[in-house]
Amino acid sequence: MTDGSSATGDEVFKRDLLAVLPHLRAFARGLCGRPDFADDLVQETAIKAWVARDRFTPGTNMRAWTFAILRNHFLSELRRNRHQADYDSDAAERMLVMEPDQEAPLHLSDMEAALLKLSPERREALLLVGAGGFTYEEAARISDCAIGTMKSRVARARYQLAHLLDPDRDTITIEHEKA
């Protein structure tokens, strides 16, 4: 395989697309909570992105561009009810049997379970800003909403997640979130 100076636009695009696959997987996993469904979403997203590559402006953020494709695809899949029936019941069960023995921070499986209890909009907002490191502005563009809406979704998601994961610290969290 060669790349570099001889790489065509398509080759560069493909390379950049493949490079964001791990991030797409992480975003998709957070959104739907199911590895198999998430990977289907990512592959379908990659193909959609590839087919639409003429609409990508080289030099702009490939991760943001493909995340937008993925979330739109995810939402349309949800609307079609595909995969939806069983995706969060297992996670909700795990949430209920959290072990009380740990002094350590929460387990990632608890985090995953709590995430799945959020509405898709809040979950997405928190994943984009809290995990993916996007700015509110970038996240709003990805989710096709106003910046204020995105900020409000993130704030509500944070509040709800804090409540789900650590009910005892509820009051402190409320103060933070109101600020």
């Binding site: 493909k14 493949l18 995953e112 809290g130």
Partner: protein, 67 residues
């Protein structure tokens, strides 16, 4: 090649790191915020599963079937 998708290596290591959050009592950010990033990063650092092997071929096929 086999990859464990739902539980990436190192995922349980946090269990054995006691008291991490209590070291930063004044941190504004709640403990779960770090957990959220860890959850995301744990997937980012997973190797791509075998199901992705055919993706390049699918892309090439999609290239020719473009509408």
């Amino acid at each position: 090649m086999e990859f464990v998708l739902s539980r990436p290596p190192g995922m349980d290591d946090r269990k054995r790191t006691p008291g991490r959050s209590s070291k930063h009592p004044e941190t504004k950010e709640p403990g779960w915020a770090e957990g959220l990033r860890q959850l995301y990063n744990s997937v980012v650092h997973e190797p791509l599963p075998d199901s992705f092997d055919d993706l390049l071929k699918k892309l090439d096929r999609a290239k020719t079937e473009r509408d």
